[in-house]
Amino acid sequence: MNDTDILAELADILAAPEPLTPETPLEPPLTWDSMALLAYLAFLRFRFNKLLPGVSCKDFRTVADLLAHTHV
């Protein structure tokens, strides 16, 4: 899965009205709340077989923070 595909999936999770870039902040008009976090965790689990323990919404500030966990 390349970054373009990942950004498309994240755009869906974040209900983004426009295409995302890594610099896009996780703030309105994006939806970044406990439910979006749940969807993001599921995305990591099923696409990358990765569990991310002990995180909360405030641990992520931009799309780049979300992308980071898809590369580790």
């Binding site: 209900a15 939806t31 709340d33 406990s34 439910m35 979006a36 976090l37 749940l38 969807a39 965790l41 599921a42 689990r45 099923f46 569990l51 991310l52 323990p53 002990g54 995180v55 909360s56």
Partner: protein, 317 residues
């Protein structure tokens, strides 16, 4: 630990639900339409049923258990009461229920405080008791009144719980029940004394998509045709079903109609399927309860929707 018990039968299950509803529209009015739409899509709850203030779990249990006891009252040797919201710290509500339900003084009465896994913990405990020939029937009962123990300003938990009472009668028969259980010493889900329900969503999610599917798969055999999960969250249940290789139609949900009924969730699903969704005949199911503790208990159980008596009623508050 995996254990198989022989010669058991689920004889009857009964549930009672109060008639006072809170709806997703009520939730939207409080937290906004956008959050409500997302909550509805992810968590899947459209309405919950709430007991009126002052209702005790024992009130719910009495209504649920009475229909089951008409024929078997004198044959109950063990009473397992599952709740995390007793109205007193002591005495145990199971002791009070011995009297309320008119059971004999010889009854072994125990409270089980295991939250959403509680019914499954009790089912496994009942199977253990029935290993002894002196035990004829085990009555499992319980429920929770949790709708008044949530933070009304927390959109993640304010609209989650229904207050449901249940009773189930377990006796001897021809069925084999296979169990797997686990617990992990976590406070990720907690109900502080005199406080409100708290949940660490990340830890709970990671738990439910790792430990729970692993356990379910350890019990899966070719004859298993449905997965009956604790109704926690539609999104999470879909992930568990997917990880375990079940088709969506094999993982029935009623969280939209009843929310999360805590320890009563699986009994409520069984009664709802039988009474409101036309389930008939024999099925081999895996039942799985998971929740605070973190505790997870699953069982592979043959179900007979024709011979087991399932009863579901809504009572006027």
């Amino acid at each position: 630990m995996n254990q198989t018990f022989h010669g058991l039968r689920l004889e009857a299950v009964s549930c009672v639900v109060p008639d006072y509803r809170t709806t997703i529209e009520d939730y939207a009015a409080r937290f906004g339409k956008d959050i409500a739409e997302r909550y509805s899509k992810v968590v899947g709850i459209q309405q919950t049923f709430n007991a009126k203030p002052g209702t005790k779990v024992t009130d719910l249990v009495r209504m649920a258990a009475d229909p089951l006891l008409e024929e078997h009252r004198a044959e109950i040797d063990v009473l397992l009461h599952v709740t995390q919201t007793p109205h007193l710290d002591a005495p145990p509500e199971s002791c009070l229920l011995q009297r309320y339900l008119g059971l004999g003084e010889h009854v072994i009465a125990l409270d089980i405080n295991q939250g959403c896994a509680g019914f499954m913990v009790a089912l496994q405990t009942a199977a253990h008791f029935l290993l002894h020939p002196s035990v004829r029937h085990v009555l499992i009962c319980g429920g929770d009144v949790l709708s008044n123990r949530v933070d009304e300003n927390d959109h993640a938990t304010a609209f989650m719980f229904s207050d449901v009472g249940f009773a189930a009668l377990v006796g001897r028969g021809d069925d084999d029940w296979a169990f797997a259980n686990g617990t992990a010493g976590s406070e990720a889900i907690s109900l502080p004394h005199d406080g409100t329900f708290k949940m660490d969503g990340t830890d709970v999610f990671n738990f439910t998509v790792s430990k729970v599917p692993e356990q379910i798969l350890s019990l899966r055999t070719p004859e298993v045709d449905c997965l009956l999960l604790h109704q926690s969250n539609a999104f999470i249940m879909r992930q568990i079903g997917r990880l375990c290789g079940f088709a969506p139609e094999q993982v029935p949900m009623n969280i939209a109609d009843y929310g999360n009924a805590s320890s009563a969730s699986i009994p409520l699903l069984l009664c709802d399927l039988a009474q409101n969704h036309g389930w008939r005949g024999k099925r081999t199911a895996i039942l799985s309860g998971y929740g605070c503790g973190l505790t997870w208990v699953s069982a592979r159980i043959p179900l007979d929707f024709d011979s087991t008596h399932f009863s579901f009623s809504i009572y006027v508050t």
